[in-house]
């Protein structure tokens, strides 16, 4: 028995090894891998370069040098953002405004607490608007009520939208939102987190995810269809394991290629950015970033990173598994390559059509852009309970991916004994 198990494993490993070879030996796929590496490196470089430190009249610093300076000035504001701290922010802001020779010099002096100024601005602006000078005119005592303002502004916003109108929330959604807002542990803790911000608040992450999915799509699209394109299908399907273990090896090779390439690219991207800018601030709540001030997910930067990475992986897995399924059923690599492109890019544009916006919120591309949509109020209601959309999308698409695997297996197995072409 042991002999047969070992024999089976040896063959399976051999088949898997050769399936991976088929993928990675193709010259076009090798070129794609080089392209992927180049894009990851360029993306990391651009994200790092976006970190700026302004020095008034002197040229600005960017990248690691800017990060070092920012870390120094932000260190003074590290700690819980209490009412007293917020009062101090308003006072300090006013003092700098009064004393600075120019706006540029003034801005440079505020960089240590610019994030907190932004929070006050976003929190006290009218809903849907952003007043960048709000901190200049607000009273210190009013600013101290930042957290109360967050909840009250939400309640006001909700009450202004009549239930049933487009964009209005159901009562359950309203209760869920308010509960989530009230559950945010305050005061928030502030510290230098430029590494996480460069990684998660930039446009590079979702763009990179889309590029990754399209490139991996190129690689996995031929796994099944190539047998037919190369006319190797007859030998494949007439072999002993061609309709069972060899198909499983193809699926495993696809799964491995998706997993290894996705995580390699993402971890490299994250490692370069965090390695250069630092991992400080991992425990800060995402609401500290003014773009996520309204976020209903009470998570830290590190948790957001995990969510983006894991969600992105599930999105990749589903879309690319679907591409493999199309490859297996249609025998066409071209159709298969189109799947990742269509599913990752088209919903982005269709989502801008107001009538389709809600519907498009449940497409798998949402998982590739978690960091961009984290602050949006998108819900799912299951059995009368309201969840944030990502709480549902991630397990849903994981489940759908798992369902696709047997579909690929049996779909491709069937291909082995159907009239491929009218014989002579």
């Amino acid at each position: 028995m042991y002999f047969y198990i070992t024999l089976g494993k040896g063959l399976v490993m051999k088949m898997l090894q050769y399936e991976l070879k088929k993928i990675f030996l193709k010259p076009v796929n090798r070129a794609m891998l080089v392209l992927l590496l180049a894009i990851v490196l360029i993306g990391s470089f651009l994200a790092i370069r976006d970190v700026k430190y302004y020095r008034g009249d002197h040229p600005e610093l960017s990248g690691p040098l800017a990060a070092r300076e920012l870390k120094k000035v932000q260190k003074q504001w590290e700690g819980p953002v209490t009412g007293d701290v917020l009062r101090r922010v308003v006072k300090e802001n006013k003092a700098i405004n009064d004393s600075a020779e120019s706006a540029d010099i003034g801005f440079a002096k505020k960089q240590g607490f610019a994030d907190l100024i932004n929070l006050i601005c976003v929190a006290f602006s009218e809903p849907g608007k952003y007043d960048p000078y709000m901190c200049d005119s607000i009273s210190p005592d009013k600013a101290a009520k930042l957290y109360e303002r967050r909840v009250s502004r939400l309640e006001k916003e909700i009450s202004e939208l009549e239930t049933g109108l487009p964009g209005a929330f159901s009562e359950k959604e309203q209760r869920y939102l308010v509960r989530q807002y009230k559950n945010l542990k305050t005061p928030l803790y502030y510290e230098y987190a430029e590494g996480w911000k460069a990684l998660l608040d930039s446009q590079y992450l979702p763009t990179l995810m889309i590029i990754i999915i399209v490139i991996i799509g190129f690689l996995v699209s031929g796994i099944f269809s190539d047998e037919f394109q190369l006319k190797a299908d007859s030998i494949f399907f007439s072999s002993k394991l061609g309709r069972n273990k060899a198909i499983l090896s193809k699926i495993k090779a696809g799964l491995l290629a998706i997993t290894i390439l996705y995580w390699s690219a993402m971890l490299l991207f994250s490692a370069i950015i965090l390695g250069t800018l630092g991992i400080g601030g991992a425990g800060c709540m995402v609401q500290l970033s003014f773009s996520n001030w309204e976020c209903m997910y009470n998570i830290t930067y590190f948790q957001e990173w995990l969510l983006c990475m894991f969600g992105g992986y599930i999105g990749n897995l589903f879309i690319l598994t679907l591409a493999m399924f199309v490859s297996a059923k249609s025998r066409s690599a071209v159709l298969s390559i189109a799947v990742p492109f269509v599913l990752s890019c088209v919903p982005m544009f269709l989502g801008r059509v107001p009538v389709l916006a809600d519907f498009m919120s449940y497409f798998p591309d949402m998982l590739l852009r978690i960091n961009k949509f984290l602050g949006d109020f998108v819900f799912c209601e299951i059995g009368g309970t309201v969840f944030g959309v990502y709480t549902v999308l991630i397990p849903c698409y994981l489940l759908l991916s798992l369902v696709l695997f047997p579909m690929i297996y049996y779909g491709y197995k069937k291909m082995g004994a159907v009239p491929a072409r009218a014989g002579q």
Binding site: L25, K231, K240, K245, Q424
Partner: protein, 295 residues
């Protein structure tokens, strides 16, 4: 080893590619002859379980081959007409991969690949990429892959198509060498491919088996004679219309013809001993004036 083909029929819509075929085959070399479109490939694909018959069945030692599933494919070696491969694999990698999907243990596969590379004369090309091989070398790699699992049933669909005469002779000898203790079914429309190595020749036309036997039996079974005659050039078109001409050789004075006919085509025609090519023409050839002439 006995393979039985029982009332085997395959239809593609209104078109019947294989029509109620009944054949019993045992160990030995079987040459399947027929013009393009005779149904040879469809028949072979059904034998390889790549196509399901519309009706009828194929059994191997009494068991239906589709029911045998992997156990049948375990004893099967197949070289398809359109032999496809993985262009970026080396010959050795290609064979090792095929060995793996044929469930040949890795250690055995390494040994077997080495032996077969030597046998087909590709040992020096073992590390060459498949896409760099010549047509003949690719076909040799094809036969090597078919032999990896030491199959009891070896099916070769047009294995010599596109090969030069040297390669064809070499291939023929190789097949002859490999045919010991197994059933080899070799399809071709090139008569000389099977004339010397097949123990039995099956003639297929329009999806049906029209005749079977050894080369001698088939030539003996011809109900028409083979005539050799020498005629003027101007009378050739008339003869081509009237008779099946298996050979036509022109010189400066006239034309030497090999004619298949019951009666003497011209008064000075002399009778010749028929060969397999004449049999082929007798069954499959049409006169020039015939509609849908296949040859």
């Amino acid at each position: 080893m006995e393979v039985n083909i029982i009332d085997l029929t395959k239809e593609f819509g209104d078109f019947t590619a294989v029509n109620c075929l009944n054949i019993t085959m045992q160990n030995g070399v079987y040459g399947l002859l027929g013009v393009n479109g005779a149904g040879k490939t469809t028949f072979m694909r059904m034998l390889c379980t790549l196509l399901r018959p519309t009706s009828g069945k194929i059994t191997c030692d009494g068991t239906e081959i589709f029911a045998m599933d992997g156990e049948y494919r375990k004893i099967l070696g197949y070289l398809p007409q359109d032999f496809g491969f993985y262009p970026d694999f080396t010959v050795q990698d290609y064979l090792l991969y095929i060995a793996a999907i044929k469930a040949v243990r890795p250690a055995v596969a390494r040994k077997r690949v080495k032996e077969l590379l030597e046998k087909v004369g590709l040992e020096k090309a073992a590390h060459k990429k498949m896409k760099k091989l010549s047509g003949g070398m690719k076909r040799r790699a094809g036969i090597a892959q078919a032999m990896l699992n030491n199959p009891k049933i070896l099916i070769l669909d047009e294995p010599t198509a596109g090969l030069d005469p040297n390669e064809r002779i070499r291939f023929r000898n190789l097949i002859s060498e490999l045919s010991e203790d197994r059933l080899v079914l070799l399809s071709t429309h090139i008569v000389s491919d099977v004339e010397y190595i097949a123990n039995e020749i099956l003639l297929m036309k329009d999806g049906m088996l029209v005749c079977r036997g050894t080369a001698e039996q088939l030539t003996a079974a011809m109900s028409e004679n083979v005539w050799k005659c020498y005629v003027e050039k101007k009378s050739v078109p008339r003869l081509l219309e009237k008779y099946k001409i298996s050979n036509l050789k022109t010189d400066s004075h006239g034309v030497e013809l090999r004619v298949i006919a019951k009666e003497k085509p011209v008064s000075d025609a002399v009778i010749e001993a028929p060969v397999l090519e004449d049999v082929f023409l007798y069954y499959f050839g049409e006169r020039v004036g015939d509609e849908n002439a296949a040859v």
